[in-house]
C-alpha cells in the first residue's frame, strides 16, 4: 500500500514537481508571541465556510424555491428527510458562528494593525468577504420564506432604497419588482447559491495566496511584539495540527448547538399580516437596527433613516480603507488613535447589540 502511494506520488511529482511545494510548506513558519492565539480565527472561519458549502449543497438537494414551495420544502427537510433537521440547523448555526469568527478575525487584524503595508490587499479582500458574508446571511435568511424573514427583507431592501440616486433602481433590482414577493425569493436564491459563492471563492483564493506569499504578519515591535528575532513554529505539521484540533472542537460545538438548540422555522410569510411584535434582525445587524430606532423621523433636512444609513455606509467605507489613511502604522510606528477607534467601535457594537437584544 505504502509503495503504491509512493509510486503515485513519484508519478505526479515527475509531472508537476511536487517537491517545490513540499519545500515551500517545510519553510513556512508561524511566529509565536503573546497574540498568537488570534492567528487561529482565520482558519476557523475558513473551516466554517467549508461547512457552509457542504451543508448548503446538501440542502439544495431538497430545497425548492418559490412562494408556494419554499417554506413547505424546509418543513419537509426538517421533518421527513433523515437528519434533515441536523443539516439545516448546522447550516443556520454555522452561518452565525462564521460571522462571529470572521468578526473576531477582522478585529484582531485591526488591533494588530496587520493591514499595514504590504498587506493592504489581504485586508481589502478580507473586508469584501466580510460584506459578502453579511450578504450571504441576509439572502439566506429569506429562503425559508417565513414571517420574520419576510419583514427583515422588506426592511433591508427598503434601506437600500433610501440610498440617494441609485437607491430606488437598486431596491427594484434586489426585490425583482416594487414589492417583496416570490420574485424576490427567486433572486435571493440565485444570489445565495451562485453569485455570492462564486465571488467569495475568488476573493478567498486571493486572500489565501497572499497569506502564503507574504507569510504571517507580526505585531509592530512596540505593540507587544518582542522586536528581536521571533520564536516560531513550523506551519507543517505543528500549526496545522493545532488548527485541525480546533476545527474538531468547533465541529463538536456545532453539533451540540444544532442538537440542543435546533433552528426555528417559524410561521410562513404572509404579505397581509402585520409585522409580529418583538421582531428583530439577526444579532449581527442588531446594532444598526437599534440605532435606526433611536434616530428621530426628521433630522434637519434629512429623513432620519437616510441619515442613519449614510452614517453606517461612511463608517463601513472608512473602516475598509483603513490601511490607506492610517499613516502611522504604514511607517511601522505605533498607532494609538487607531486602537482607540477600534475600541470605540467594539464598545458601540456591544452596547447597541445588548440594548437591541433586551428591548
Amino acid at each position: 500500500m505504502n509503495t503504491l502511494l509512493k509510486k503515485l506520488y513519484a508519478w505526479v511529482d515527475e509531472r508537476v514537481q511536487l517537491e517545490d511545494l513540499v519545500q515551500f510548506l517545510g519553510k513556512k513558519y508561524v511566529p509565536i508571541h503573546r497574540h498568537s492565539i488570534w492567528y487561529y480565527f482565520g482558519g476557523v472561519s475558513l473551516f466554517l465556510f467549508i461547512i457552509q458549502v457542504v451543508t448548503g449543497i446538501l440542502l439544495l438537494l431538497y430545497y425548492k424555491s418559490g412562494e408556494a414551495l419554499a417554506f413547505e420544502s424546509i418543513q419537509f427537510i426538517m421533518s421527513k428527510v433523515q437528519f434533515g433537521w441536523l443539516i439545516r440547523s448546522i447550516h443556520s448555526w454555522t452561518a452565525n458562528l462564521f460571522i462571529l469568527t470572521a468578526m473576531i478575525h477582522m478585529f484582531s487584524v485591526y488591533f494588530e494593525k496587520s493591514y499595514r503595508k504590504p498587506r493592504e490587499i489581504t485586508w481589502l479582500t478580507g473586508m469584501l468577504m466580510f460584506f459578502l458574508a453579511l450578504g450571504f446571511g441576509f439572502s439566506g435568511y429569506l429562503l425559508p420564506w417565513n414571517e420574520l424573514a419576510f419583514f427583515a427583507t422588506k426592511v433591508g431592501t427598503d434601506i437600500a432604497g433610501v440610498v440617494p440616486i441609485i437607491g430606488k433602481p437598486l431596491m427594484v433590482f434586489l426585490r425583482g419588482g416594487q414589492e417583496v414577493t416570490g420574485a424576490t425569493l427567486s433572486r435571493f436564491f440565485g444570489f445565495h447559491v451562485a453569485v455570492l459563492p462564486g465571488i467569495f471563492t475568488v476573493l478567498l483564493g486571493v486572500h489565501l495566496i497572499l497569506i502564503q506569499r507574504q507569510g504571517m504578519s507580526e505585531p509592530l515591535t512596540d505593540e507587544g511584539g518582542a522586536g528581536q528575532p521571533q520564536k516560531t513554529m513550523p506551519f507543517f505539521p505543528n500549526f496545522l495540527l493545532r488548527d485541525l484540533l480546533l476545527w474538531l472542537i468547533v465541529l463538536n460545538l456545532l453539533a451540540i448547538l444544532a442538537v440542543f438548540f435546533p433552528w426555528e422555522l417559524g410561521k410562513k410569510a404572509d404579505a397581509f399580516a402585520s409585522a409580529p411584535a418583538g421582531i428583530k434582525p439577526e444579532w449581527y445587524f442588531l446594532f444598526m437596527f437599534q440605532t435606526l430606532k433611536y434616530i428621530p423621523g426628521k433630522l434637519w433636512a434629512f429623513d432620519g433613516e437616510v441619515f442613519g444609513i449614510l452614517l453606517f455606509s461612511v463608517g463601513g467605507i472608512l473602516w475598509t480603507l483603513v490601511p490607506f489613511w492610517d499613516r502611522r502604522s504604514q511607517r511601522g510606528e505605533r498607532s494609538r488613535l487607531m486602537t482607540y477607534i477600534g475600541i470605540f467601535v467594539i464598545f458601540y457594537i456591544i452596547v447597541l447589540t445588548i440594548l437591541g437584544w433586551t428591548a
Binding site: I159, P169, F272, A273, G297
Partner: protein
C-alpha cells in the same frame, strides 16, 4: 511612409484614426453585450389590476376598538374601528421602512413592530422613526357592507 533618411515615419493621423475606430468598436461591442444583460436584470412591469375599492365584510363582524389588515390589490390597508364605533382606514405600510403596522388596543395607537413607530388613530406619526403620516383611505358603509376605497 519612408522618409529621405530611410526610416519609417509613423503617420500620427492615421494611427489616431485607427485608435478611434478600434476603441470605438470595442466600446460598442462591450455595450452590445452588456445592454441585454442589464436589461434582463430589470424586472418587467407587472400589469397590476388597478383597485379602487374593496369589500371588507359586514359591519356587524367588525368589533369595536379593533384593527385588521385588508388586502387592497397588492397593498395592505389597516381598517380600524374605534371604541366609539367609527371606521377609519389607512395604508398599513409603515412610512419608515416598509413594515406592516398593527392596531395596539392597549396603547390605543397604530404601531409598527419593526422599529417601534407609533401613529395616532388619524394616521399621524406621533413617536419613533416614521417620517410621515400614513395615507388615509375612505371607508364607505352601504347597508351592512363595509367598503374601503381610495381617497378621491
Amino acid at each position: 511612409m519612408k522618409t529621405s533618411d530611410g526610416y519609417h515615419r509613423v503617420d500620427e493621423e492615421k494611427r489616431d484614426f485607427l485608435k478611434w475606430i478600434l476603441s470605438g468598436g470595442l466600446i460598442a461591442f462591450v455595450g452590445s453585450v452588456l445592454y441585454p444583460v442589464l436589461a434582463y436584470l430589470k424586472p418587467p412591469a407587472q400589469g397590476e389590476v388597478e383597485v379602487s375599492s374593496v369589500k371588507v365584510g359586514k359591519l356587524g363582524d367588525i368589533p369595536k376598538d379593533s384593527g385588521q389588515i385588508v388586502k387592497f390589490g397588492s397593498k395592505p390597508v389597516i381598517l380600524l374601528r374605534t371604541a366609539a364605533g367609527e371606521l377609519r382606514a389607512f395604508s398599513a405600510t409603515c412610512t419608515h421602512l416598509d413594515c406592516t403596522v398593527q392596531y395596539r388596543k392597549d396603547l390605543g395607537v397604530i404601531w409598527c413592530a419593526c422599529h417601534n413607530g407609533k401613529y395616532d388613530l388619524n394616521g399621524h406619526n406621533i413617536s419613533g422613526p416614521p417620517p410621515r403620516p400614513l395615507s388615509a383611505y375612505r371607508v364607505v358603509v352601504q347597508g351592512d357592507e363595509v367598503f374601503v376605497s381610495k381617497e378621491s
